[in-house]
Symmetry: C2
Subunit: 186 residues, 2 copies
DNA sequence: GCAACCGGAGAACGAACGTTCTCTCGATGT
DNA sequence: ACATCGAGAGAACGTTCGTTCTCCGGTTGC
């Protein structure tokens, strides 16, 4: 197994385990078993568990932003592109292994102890907020609306995770639709 | 120190430490030091750390619901009582030790490992949702609006925690105001 | 064929933590 | 005054975990 596939296997295994069980609950040995990469190799690629956690979060940040872009860019009108964010959420929440937003979860678990994790989580949420703000601006709506829609999106993630249902995405989408209607294009 | 004050000191110290540093990051010895209650007494009152965690969450559930009731019942009209929930959030987020919602954080940290914690978190969010639904119904609005406002409230909590600002409460309140306006009383 | 090296498996190590135990002291009842 | 009980301080125990080390087998270059 070469360098890059070992790294990919590690990131895949760690990402899945961290998301499913929580970061602190997953030992390095579980990652070794799931990835098939020895501990020695693992510590050559990532000098500590925290480095691995940060790499996992950074990769997930890129993947999520690409997914959101795929959803929004597939729609025809600016308003539809805004609402597509909430369709993305609904599809995500319906996946059987959905356990909430990994960034919100990591922030809750490691925020008090790890400034690096806080920075990564903040950067991710800021990037999503920027994307949403661009879509809202393209639809001719106000920045205030973008802030409101970000709150709706984050709220849908935690509410869906806790109640164990994808419906909060529909609630958030309905609210977003009404807010779009109530914030007429300039 | 008698039975009940020892219990109160333990719950106070554990609640503050769990909220500030996360549950898994706080050892029983830190709780002993902060509370002044010996480990022996602690284990007589709470047979395990998990029992203590659950007691802390249940007490916080009661306290938060009382605070919300105090905010909402102080307003004159049904619509104002709905919006008072978001004023409560703004005041809460502005407190210097604000670190997000303890229930959302506990769910993220212990949800995969503790079904009891999941039950307590779900019950808390359901109780808040019920309260909100009653206020919305009293204002003559639809249950769908109540679901949307719950998403807004939860989203304000996580967004404010991550960005480190109370402003998301204002964003959520503005959205709630518009949604109330767009959902006219029956 | 052989020696040198790289990587894997798993033991080992040190720290942290939840929980229990020991020892001692002070209070209480008679 | 004295015996008894309960509680506190802190050591101790067993486990888990992050990280490192050891040993060994296979591969590669001559």
């Amino acid at each position: 197994m070469d360098h890059t596939t070992a790294e990919a296997r590690l990131l895949d295994a760690a990402d899945a385990l961290f998301y499913e069980r929580g970061i602190q609950a997953v030992g390095m040995d579980a990652i070794r078993q799931a990835s098939g990469v020895s501990l020695k190799r693992t510590y050559q690629l990532f000098p500590s568990k925290e480095h691995l956690v940060e790499a996992v979060l950074r990769r997930r940040d890129r993947a999520i932003r690409e997914q959101i872009s795929a959803y929004t860019s597939a729609r025809a009108t600016p308003a539809e592109r805004v609402l597509a964010v909430f369709d993305y959420l609904y599809d995500w929440f319906g996946q059987p292994d959905f356990r909430g937003c990994a960034f919100i979860n990591s922030f809750a678990e490691l925020g008090p102890a790890s400034a690096n994790v806080v920075d990564i989580v903040r950067a991710h949420k800021q990037a999503v907020a920027d994307h949403l703000a661009a879509l809202v601006a393209a639809a001719g709506r106000s920045p205030a609306l973008a802030a409101q829609l970000l709150v709706l999106a984050n709220g849908a993630m935690v509410t869906a995770a806790i109640v164990g249902s994808p419906e909060p995405a529909r609630d958030a989408r309905a609210a977003a639709q009404r807010l779009l209607d109530a914030d007429p294009a300039t």
